[in-house]
């Protein structure tokens, strides 16, 4: 159950009733829903969700019904008869019928209220549905909150990586006692040769304790044993449940069978439980044991791995982080040349999967709550007006003997009905809004179930909670009016004449608050819009347009030799360049703008770092010469890589301008030597700096290694074309297929799309804040218009008198306009102050724009003026049109 609902529900029922009756019954409902929804389609799931929501509502009512009896039992008093409860229920039905009739009679008021609430609640529910799927829904592992990914931060550069050096992993394994089941893992695709046709499967490579870590028991056979991960152990594997069903026909005799995976035969020792995934977005069709060295290797940072662990019971996250920091410091002391500045820290698995999207989403939930607040303020104003209009009816009912309590319950029921209808319409709006929101989510959000985010029981509970809270708030506003009413006074003609100055002032203040909230959202949307514009116009240091990129995987068994791979890539690039649509083609290991932060130590051969010190890191990339042409990274000096830069020639590297500036001040880097491992490499070229990790990343110092020297069987191609890059794809793929039939393509995209994805969080914030700010502005303008119109209607007699005494029409119009603009000015002042204070929360989303950007503030004033002037002018014009003769005669 989402935490927000837990909080609300805990306050709707007495604590004991919630704990003993509601909570276990609610969990049963949830179990039932999940079990039944699993095998159904989207529409059937929606229907099931609606029925589940109804059952939750019935459960809530049932708990309310049982509350007096249950509380009495606790006080050792015999339960009273259930008559009072029944009486309450029948009163509720009477009130509901009466409210329904009243609202049907006042169709204009009902439509305005329901639509306003539907917009506010719908937007809230839609954002909450995504927030629930991304941030609140538990991961599919027992006690998943204790699972953490081990991250590495270089404290000298501030660069963080989500993986851990193998040397450090081995040492951490031996020293950390705040964590248990520390597991190294990796993933990828593997080719399985079983039956007539080989096929690709998603593989999870993990140290044997992965099943202990995730507290998962195999459906068949056994889990890995510690010996399975030792060097030289017989190769084994565990099949994923789905693969076992689809490819092995759920055959239990598969246990013990040998299956060829890649170039190795492996014995199947088990079948993973149904639904087993790790990481949660990874289907894990096969699980292979990962071998880790028993002792930390001398070159501690030559290999890296992902690592996940479980925080031990009784240990807090901060304690685990403190222990990792202390061990990192000890490792730094023991191995200064390799570990200087290396800090390891735990990050919860959920945070690692959600990444930086969590904060924009939380921010959006806050923004959309403000929209609901404006909608509520509008509805509150409508209710105040309505309460005044019904003052006489209420006084008559009181004079006939109706108690104030009874009338208050009646008003509460009416507002509850309004809110529930508005909420139902809002949920329908959200039903269509959620898929649009999900489409805006960055692809790197790897939370399972995001694609299926929608209106489920939890989200419906949220909607019901919002409706009930809104209804209670509005009902209280309406009911408070009754408290101060004397029946006789309400029946007098003076009471019918209009509203008091204090009531009007209260309504004006509510509207000023609405304007203020709208200004806060406008300022936020304006700042994010300016950041988005700045990101789109930033120069990444290379040309993004017209570049096709995709991964190529060669069959490992046929390309074991480096020479075979070199020969393939030589032929492949020659053939691709023959294509008339292709300008340039190259290959690299790291795709720019994907957040990659791989680094390598940089050390001049002629100025060695003193013993015991770790050289500074620079960005790492392995690229072919064609990569620089394809991305149009400018060559500043020297040359790019040639196909001749191979194993039999002296090693060479290329550096970026930032490296030259930093390590070779006042001299050329070309021709100088740098230390690579135990040898030297010559710098043969200097290229321009690029923003490698993302568009919002500062250009960094990078060092490029020749891809040609030892090409990998899996690489990423970058091809510059003279038109639509994707149009050239079929011809290029067929060229590559003609050279190698078993070549596999993956992650086909364009650099434009990669760049767009790198700013997806800002885009998400921009769209949502923009829509919510527009919605808030519209609602605030309607609020201003409503209050001004009502004031003019109430003051018709006064305005008529003024006109009769010689006031001009323009003077009257300006007087009314001035009142409206005063309200707007107060709202603007408060809103700008609050907006500037709250932009601190936006800081992580801003790029190239200060939080107190004067352009944004000026634009906010203009946009607000454009919306508010008509909202004030229309009632003012109506005021100027008052006929003095007619109004004085009435």
């Amino acid at each position: 159950m989402p935490r927000g609902f837990r909080f609300i529900l805990q306050r709707l029922l007495p604590h004991r009733v919630h704990r003993d009756l509601f909570e276990p019954a609610f969990n049963d409902l949830r179990f039932d829903y999940i079990e039944r929804a699993a095998s159904r389609g989207l529409i059937a799931r929606g229907a099931l969700g609606a029925s589940c929501a109804l059952r939750i509502l019935i459960l809530l009512l049932d708990c309310w019904r049982l509350t007096p009896q249950y509380i009495a039992e606790h006080r050792s008093v015999r339960p009273t008869a259930s008559e009072p409860s029944r009486e309450h229920l029948s009163m509720l039905l009477v009130n509901l019928r009466h409210s329904f009739r009243m609202l049907r009679r006042e169709r204009g008021f009902t439509a305005a209220t329901v639509l306003t609430l539907a917009l506010g609640i719908g937007a809230n529910v839609a954002v909450f549905a995504v927030l629930e799927a991304v941030v609140l829904r538990p991961l599919p592992y027992p006690d998943a909150d204790r699972l953490v990914i081990l991250h590495h931060r270089d404290t000298r550069t501030g660069i963080s990586k989500e993986f851990i050096a193998i040397g450090d992993f081995v040492d951490l394994l031996a020293r950390v006692d705040a964590l248990e089941h520390i597991t190294a893992f990796g993933g990828g695709d593997a080719t399985i040769y079983d039956g007539a046709e080989p096929f690709r499967a998603v593989a999870l490579l993990a140290t044997p304790n992965v099943f202990d870590l995730l507290q998962a028991k195999p459906a068949l056979g056994r889990a890995f044993e510690p010996g399975d991960g030792k060097a030289g152990a017989p190769p084994v594997m565990i099949l994923g449940y789905d693969l076992w069903e689809s490819r092995f026909g759920s055959d239990p005799s598969v246990i013990g069978r040998s299956v060829r995976v890649g170039d190795k035969s492996r014995q199947v020792v088990g079948v993973a439980p149904r639904g087993f995934r790790f990481p949660p977005h990874n289907r894990a069709e096969i699980v292979l044991p990962l071998t880790m060295p028993a002792q930390a290797p001398a070159q501690r940072k030559n290999g890296w791995t992902f690592a996940v662990a479980r925080i031990k019971s009784g240990v807090t996250h901060d304690e685990a982080a403190a222990q990792l920091a202390s061990i990192s410091a000890r490792l730094e002391q023991a191995h200064p040349a390799q570990n200087q500045g290396s800090l390891y820290y735990p990050m919860s698995l959920r945070d690692a999967l959600v990444g930086e999207t969590k904060w924009p989403l939380l921010l959006m939930q806050g923004a959309v709550a403000l929209v609901l607040l404006i909608a509520c303020a509008n509805v509150a104003n409508l209710l105040i007006v309505r309460a005044l209009a019904r003052r006489q009816e209420m006084c008559v009912r009181m004079a006939l003997g109706a108690g104030r309590g009874r009338l208050a319950v009646q008003l509460l029921t009416e507002t509850l009905l309004l809110c529930l209808v508005g909420g139902a319409l809002g949920v329908a709006l959200a039903y269509w809004g959620v898929p649009a929101l999900v489409a805006l989510m960055p692809r790197r959000v790897l939370v399972p179930g995001l694609a299926e985010a929608g209106i489920d029981a939890g989200v419906l509970m949220f909607a019901v909670g919002v409706c009930v809270i809104s209804a209670l708030a509005f009902g209280v506003i309406a009911a408070v009016g009754l408290r101060r009413q004397a029946p006789a006074a309400g029946l007098s003609s003076a009471a019918r004449a209009g509203v008091s100055r204090s009531t009007r002032r209260a309504a004006s203040l509510v509207v000023a608050a609405e304007v203020g909230i709208a200004v806060v959202l406008l300022v936020a949307a304006g700042l994010v819009l300016r950041s988005f514009g700045a990101l789109l116009s930033v120069n990444p240091g290379f040309q993004i347009d017209s570049v096709l990129t995709f991964d190529v995987q060669l069959p490992a068994d046929r390309y074991r030799e480096v020479a075979a791979r070199q020969a393939f890539y030589d032929r492949a690039f020659d053939a691709i360049r023959q294509n008339p649509q292709v300008f340039a083609a190259g290959a690299a290991v790291v795709t720019p703008l994907t957040g990659n932060n791989w680094t390598v130590p940089f050390e001049r051969s002629d100025r060695r770092v003193p013993a015991g010190q770790r050289p500074p890191d620079v960005g790492w990339q392995s690229a072919s010469g064609g990569y620089f042409d394809a991305l149009r990274i400018p060559l500043r000096a020297g040359r790019v890589f040639h196909t001749t830069d191979r194993g039999d020639r002296p090693p060479v590297v290329i550096v970026s301008e930032a490296v030259e500036r930093r390590f070779f001040p006042g001299e050329s880097a070309v021709g100088k030597k740098v230390r690579i491992g135990d040898g030297d490499a010559e710098i043969v070229g200097v290229v321009g700096d690029i923003r490698r990790a993302g568009l919002n990343d500062a250009p960094r110092a990078d060092m490029y290694f020749p891809f040609e020297r030892e090409p990998s069987p899996a690489i990423t191609l970058f091809i510059r074309t003279n038109g639509d890059p994707l149009a050239a794809l079929p011809a290029i793929q067929s060229t590559l297929k003609s050279l190698e039939r078993q070549v596999v393509f993956a992650d086909i995209t364009t650099l434009d799309a990669v760049a767009a994805e790198s700013i997806a969080s800002t885009r998400l914030a921009f769209w949502l804040l923009g829509v919510f700010a527009a919605l808030a502005l519209t609602l605030a303008a309607i609020g201003v218009y409503g209050v001004m119109s009502y004031a003019v209607r109430q003051r018709t007699r006064e305005l008529g008198t003024r006109l009769a005494l010689g006031a001009t029409k323009n003077g009257i119009a300006w007087m009314v306009m001035r009142e409206g603009l005063t309200i707007v000015s107060i709202g603007l002042g408060v809103g700008v102050t609050a907006g500037l204070a709250s932009t601190v929360a936006l800081r992580s989303l801003l790029f190239g724009v200060p939080t107190s950007d004067p352009v944004t503030l000026a634009a906010t004033v203009v946009v607000l003026g454009a919306a508010m002037v008509p909202a004030c002018y229309l009632p003012a014009r109506r005021a100027a049109m008052v006929d003095p003769a007619r109004t004085l005669a009435e």
């Binding site: 003993d20 009756l21 276990p24 019954a25 969990n27 249950y70 538990p138 027992p142 639904g275």
Partner: protein, 104 residues
């Protein structure tokens, strides 16, 4: 008369052999024609807990790919005594009735 009501006897009987989640107990007693709303059922279970006849706790399980919490129950020695007492009572009543039937 035994301390346990016939409904309590039924519920305790489902727990004599093994611990069970609440929803399973509710399903079993529904098989005997006992229809209670889930809130009323858990009210009864809370009463049994107060009598210290059963012990309840929460446990997290995985359904599909989602974690769900369920309330599980196990019988306590006092509950087992109450169940045995009720069973002995019902057996003696049944035996007496059977004797009367055969005498008649």
């Amino acid at each position: 008369m035994p301390a346990a009501t016939h409904l309590q006897f039924l519920v305790l009987g489902t727990l004599v052999a093994e611990e069970r989640p609440g929803r399973e107990i509710r399903r079993i007693i529904a098989g005997y024609g006992v229809r209670r709303t889930s809130a009323a059922f858990y009210q009864m279970m809370a009463r049994l807990e107060r009598l210290r006849w059963v012990e309840g706790w929460y446990e997290q399980i995985t359904v599909g790919d989602q974690a769900v919490t369920e309330r599980r129950y196990r019988i306590k020695p006092a509950g087992e005594r109450a169940w045995k007492e009720a069973r002995a009572f019902y057996e003696s009543v049944a035996l007496a009735a059977a004797r009367r039937w055969s005498d008649a």
